[in-house]
Structures are given as structure tokens and as C-alpha cells.
Point group: C2
Chain length 281, copies 2
Amino acid sequence: MNEPLAPDAQQGLIRLRGDVSYDGKEFSGWGLQPGRRTVQGVIEETLSTVLRQERVAIQCAGRTDAGVHARGQVIHFDLPIEAMLEMDDLLFKINSLLPEDVAIRKFQITSSDFDARFAALSRSYVYSIYQGERDPLLRDWAYRSWIPLDLTAMHEASQDLLGLHDFAAFCRKREGSTTIRTLTRFDWHETDDGIFQADLSADAFCYSMVRALVGAVISIGEGKRDKEWLVSYLEGKTREPAVFAAPAHGLVFQSVEYPPESEFVERISQTLRMRPPHGTH
Amino acid sequence: MNEPLAPDAQQGLIRLRGDVSYDGKEFSGWGLQPGRRTVQGVIEETLSTVLRQERVAIQCAGRTDAGVHARGQVIHFDLPIEAMLEMDDLLFKINSLLPEDVAIRKFQITSSDFDARFAALSRSYVYSIYQGERDPLLRDWAYRSWIPLDLTAMHEASQDLLGLHDFAAFCRKREGSTTIRTLTRFDWHETDDGIFQADLSADAFCYSMVRALVGAVISIGEGKRDKEWLVSYLEGKTREPAVFAAPAHGLVFQSVEYPPESEFVERISQTLRMRPPHGTH
């Protein structure tokens, strides 16, 4: 072992953090589903094989929908100390066995107070859109808009959604879970290659919230709706099926931000007060 | 027809220029090969179907190897006037029938003096490299280097290759064809995402020349060779199998530059003097 063991190592378990990247195209999303190929399923199976455990259960920072990609998903899991390998060996063995559309980019031993989901301060996503004729090089990474989009109008409208709101109009309702979130960033810009990109950050997003936010703003970019509509739609707190959710393949889960280790416990109890565990994340 | 016909239309034929984009992953390169799926084969078949011709033979600006991608390949072909459709219809019908890994981005009627290959002033390619752990989101678009690369050393060494040279050391020799080319750009930079990219331009490239140039410079980035070696290798004019050709999947054929229409004929005769048609392009 190259690093000192975290405190709980003495109790026989060690907690690992992994940073995960995947191409969502061939996955039925993150979470385990019987008979479906899911990111969680594929990673857990590989970890169990390499670590010779019956099951290694992993927790993630944010479950992604079918087709959504990730550049900075974060996971944690616990291991009996005696199952542990050298970190470099572990990374190499896991990535050799994982299929080519998913990889662990980094492993580290972490405090057993760390929780990939509840210790997170915020999550960031990127959504990409292109216009014009069909582009084979972008087909799996960006949504193609048939209608020319007004980038400035989209950026301006998005600013009105920032802050602490009940985002029920953009969330699929779940019994007993809150739809109150703090959206801290929703910026649009054009890349050198002419792709329109949205950068979104929030303490957490409800199920399908990013795609619903982007879809609503696209309808403003198309000139079908305006920013006044967006504000009143947010305030209506009711999801309307006519408001389109942007397709999954344009979305990348970019990163998760955590506090320093000394604040894990405080952050987790704060999160649990705000968003009890049966809510989505 | 929305545009005036080019002069030769009176003789019953019309020349079209198409700008083509493809994901090279599932193609055995550009050129027709019996029993193989090639970009030329797929496009010619689709054009023949849409235009109800027995065969529509297309010419391209630069034949690409198996696995190489294109964002700005250019083609031309001739059609009997009576087979011609409205341009918008043509684009829509072709792209509806083409598989999703290839598309015509643009069509235009051009002078019958235009030649996608011989009228070209220059071709530009982009090569992408990433370092660190395997990345599922880059696996089809960038070469992964296991060894940390020195970007500055790569950029500096590349500058020594600029200008008019006999690039025989970087070309597969073909009977009766010249390996003399003018390399006008070979710049390296790092993108915001940490990808190392080379931008290369030349009047034309020999078969596999871009990948051989990039491969040689990578060995300098790895610290295995130095810029003095590169110059002497160029001057040796002999291809050595030990000099690695960078893998095809990191390469994108980016664009082709043409003179204004009034100079097509002059440019074509100039090209034919320098590089007779049995040479590669």
C-alpha cells in the first residue's frame, strides 16, 4: 500500500473513492436494473471479480439516465482490508477488465466519512447542441437542432433560473422527496467548432432536471417561447408534458465538488436535512 | 433549380461539389475495395440510388486510410442535367439514405473545371492525443499515450519539417510518384480539455504521411529521440519501419483549400506538372 490507511482501516474496512468516465450510448443508465446493461452493474461485477468479493456495492454521486455520458462521476465503496490491492495494480486490473465504454480514471483511499452522494457540495453538467446538416462526428455527443437557435436569448433566459427555487416544473415528482434545489450556474457559450454548450451546476439535480431545463431553454432559442414564459413556468411548479426534455446523448456529467475531508460529516448531515435519502440526486 | 447552371450544363452534364464528413471507425478507408465497406462505396451507392444512375463515380480531395475521420473531405461528380434534383431535395434525400456515420454537409453546383483532387491548393489535418488513464469519451477520437509527452519539444521539432522537402522517409514509396511536398503548418497546442493536438497543412500528403510525421514527433515528445534526429531522418529519405505511424483513429481530415473559380484550370495544370495522377494525394 503506498498511502497511509484511513482511520477506519483498523476496524477492518477501507473506503475507496473512484472517479469514473463512461460513454452512455450502450448503457441503460447508471442504476442496477434486472436484465439490463447498466454502468453500476458493469462496475460492480468487475470490482467483485478483481477483488474476489461476492458483491462490491458502489454508491455514486449522481445516477444518470440512459444515454447520458460522464466525464466526472464519483463513486465510493468499502472493502475488507485483506482484499485490498496496491492502488496502481487495482486501477490497472479494473480498467483491463472493464469494457471500453467505461473506465475508472482515478482511485484513492478516503475517509470512511466520505460519501460520494451525500458529501457532495455540487454537481456540474455540460449540454451540447449543434445546428445545420447531420454531423457523423457529433452524432453521439451533441443534440442536433433543426431550427437556428438564438444563443444570447438562451443565455439570458437561463440566468432567471439561478438561485434557490422549487424546480417541480422540471422534475418528475417522487413521493416524499423535495424538488427544492439551488441552481448556481446555467451559462451558454459557443465553442470554436460552432457547438452551443450549456454549463449547469447545482447542489443537486432531480431526476431528468438538467434535460428539462435545457429543453425549456431550447424552445426560447427557437423563438417559440420567451423568458417571461420561463419564469412563469418555474413559478407554476407543475410539469407540463409539452415542455420537451432535451435528448440524453447531448448530456455529460462533468464533475462533482466536495468539501475538504474535515467537513465531510457536517456536509452529510446538512444534505440529509435538506434532501432525505429517498429523494433522487 | 435555385442556382444558375454552370457553363457545361449546355453540354448535358453538370458538376457538383459535395463537402463530406465521416466517422472512420467502421470503414475500410476511403477508396473502393471489393467486399469491404468503404466511404466511397457507400456514397456512390447512395448517389446512384437517389439519382437513378447506374453508377455515379466520385472523386475526392484526399483518400483517407482505414479508421481516419473526416470533417471536411471534398468530392466532385458529374450528372446528366435531366437527373438533377433541387439542391435542397438532393441534400435531404442523400442524407436520409446514408448511414449515420457519413453525411454530405453541403452540395453546390460548380464549374466543370473544378476538380476536388487536382484543383486543391492544400489539405489540413488534425491529430489528437491524450494522456493518463483510458478515457471512454475519447477512445474513438484521440490516441492515448502511456508516456507523458513534452508538448514544447514536439512543437519545436515539428517546425524543422516545414517547407519544401522530399518526404520519402515518411511516405510509402510508389513507382513513378514523387514524395516531394510543401509542409506549411505543423503546430502543436493543448486544448482546454488537456488534449494535445497537432494541426498539419501541406499542398498534399503522400499515403500515410500525416501519421508517420506525427508518430516521429511523438517519439520526441516521449524523450526517446531529439529534434536533431528528426532532421537527419528527413534528410535520409528512407522510411524505417522502427519509426512508428501514429494510429489512424486520432486523425481527422479537417479541410481542403481551393483557389477562386477563375484559377481552377491554372491550378490543375500546375498540380499535374508537380504530382502526376498516378501519385497518391
